[in-house]
């Protein structure tokens, strides 16, 4: 088990966003996280990544507790994320966006080496030509790729992807799924993945966790989830 959450609850004022969520992510897996809007998926991500503190409950990474650690420490432990609504460093160039992540991972390395690596990463996500442009000039899809490159530059063991397929056509979705699989297969990065494009997640994931109204509905391989009446109910009831 690479990541484990025990009885995680989160309240915002009067709203119970998560209640006693238990879940885990196996090392080397691609785990999907699905559920209707407002189910608490992104809240759970933010808690794992340290951007939010849970009201109660604990999180463990590689067997060690990470509950309540600040986001930058969790990042250094090996968890990286992308954001549902993209958050690039708008006034910095694409190269600098990736560099920020790289210099905090390897502050000891010379700038030139880090820059070369960052350019390489940008090339891998197809942004080689945009390296010296300010991030604000990219379109949304390019920004998502930039975020991915930035997350990869932190050299994570676990990557949290939040709706990276939005706005892509069928052909592009297929390519993206392949790319994500390659991340796991070639780099050995475990992936926890929130996605609304059901087909893609069912195709790529080894296991799927379903959240509904702040609770875990089920966690099982995709085939079982698809046929689970509770899941169908949850989506239809929306």
């Amino acid at each position: 088990m690479l990541l484990e959450g025990r009885k995680i609850s989160k309240r915002f004022g009067g709203v119970q966003a998560l209640s006693e969520v238990d879940f885990h992510v196996e090392e080397g897996s691609i785990t999907g996280l699905i559920g209707p809007n407002g189910a608490g998926k992104t809240t759970l991500f933010s808690i794992v990544a340290g951007a939010l503190k849970p009201t109660s409950g604990r999180t463990f990474f590689e067997g060690r507790e990470i509950t309540g650690l600040p986001a930058d420490q969790i990042c250094r432990r090996g968890i990286a994320r992308t954001f549902q609504i993209v958050r690039p460093f708008a006034s910095m160039s694409c190269l600098e966006n990736v560099l920020v992540a790289a210099v905090n991972r390897h502050p000891e390395r010379p700038r030139a080496a880090l820059e070369a690596a960052a350019r390489d990463l940008l090339g891998q996500v197809g942004l080689a030509d945009f390296a010296d442009q300010e991030a604000r000039h990219l379109n949304v899809i390019q920004k998502k790729r930039l975020e991915l490159a930035r997350a990869l530059a932190t050299e994570p063991r676990l990557l949290l992807l939040d709706e990276v397929l939005g706005g892509l056509n069928t052909q592009e979705i297929q390519e993206a799924v392949e790319d994500i699989r390659a991340l796991r297969d070639r780099r050995g990065i475990t992936i926890l993945w929130i996605e609304h494009v059901m087909g893609a997640i069912m195709q790529a994931a080894d296991r799927v966790i379903v959240l509904d109204q702040g609770r875990v509905l089920t966690a099982a391989p995709p085939r079982e989830v698809v046929s689970d009446p509770r899941v169908i109910q949850a989506y239809l009831g929306e």
Binding site: F12, G13, G14, V15
Partner: protein
Amino acid sequence: MLAISVMNGLVIGVIYALAALGVSLVVGIMNVINFAHGELYILAGYFSFLFASTLGMPFAPAMGLAVALVFLFGLLIERLLIRPTYGNDMYSLILTFILSIVLQNAFLLIFGPYPNKPPLWVRGASEIFGLFSYGNQRLAALVSGAALIALVFLVLQKTWFGRIIRATSQDRAMAEWNGVNTTRLNMLSFGLGCALAAAAGVILSPVFPVTPTAGVPIALTAFVVVVLGGMGSMWGCVVGGLLLGLVENLGAAFISSGYKNVFGFLILILVLLVRPSGLFGRAKL
């Protein structure tokens, strides 16, 4: 010595609470610190001086008019300066800081450097329980200040408007979902915050005459009280104000009068260290 220090602490404490209520209201609802709060207090003092002393109006309508004008001025400030900065607390802070300096210098040009004092409501002094003699105008300020605080609480507790304010300061997002027009609410509460500063100004200016820069210590103490009581907590304001008034005056009487104002700031830093949300504050802003 003890008796008069406590008395003095109460009087000053009520005034602190009153001055801080306006700041607290605005912080609670808009998450904006109005740095020019003290200058609005002073502006009201000048207005009431102008209407009562120069134009010869009776003091009560002069005060009312002064507060009303500052309220309108507050609406204007909100519309022109604060509204474009929502979501950027730092920028509103910078803007109102500059505004406070601009107002101070405008006062200097218009009213000159001398202190101005609206007419007293009552003259003379009274013996209190045979213990000490106390200025009647100060006693009047105490009574009217306390009455005004009570009125504010009544409005907050009992009226529809008060409920909206309390709901919004507790959870802005929820209030928005429930259909509160937050833009208009912001404008109104900023204006009210300024009006509260003005009310403190008109009540206190007969005791402590207004000068162009006299608003600075008023605003600073109001900030201390607000942080002490907890950002956005109205009760915190009253308790914090009284506490500060008492601590300052007892400290001045028994420790050192020169360090009177340091006690407040020290308490502030201590409270922030131990309980960053203040005595009655919400956990996080």
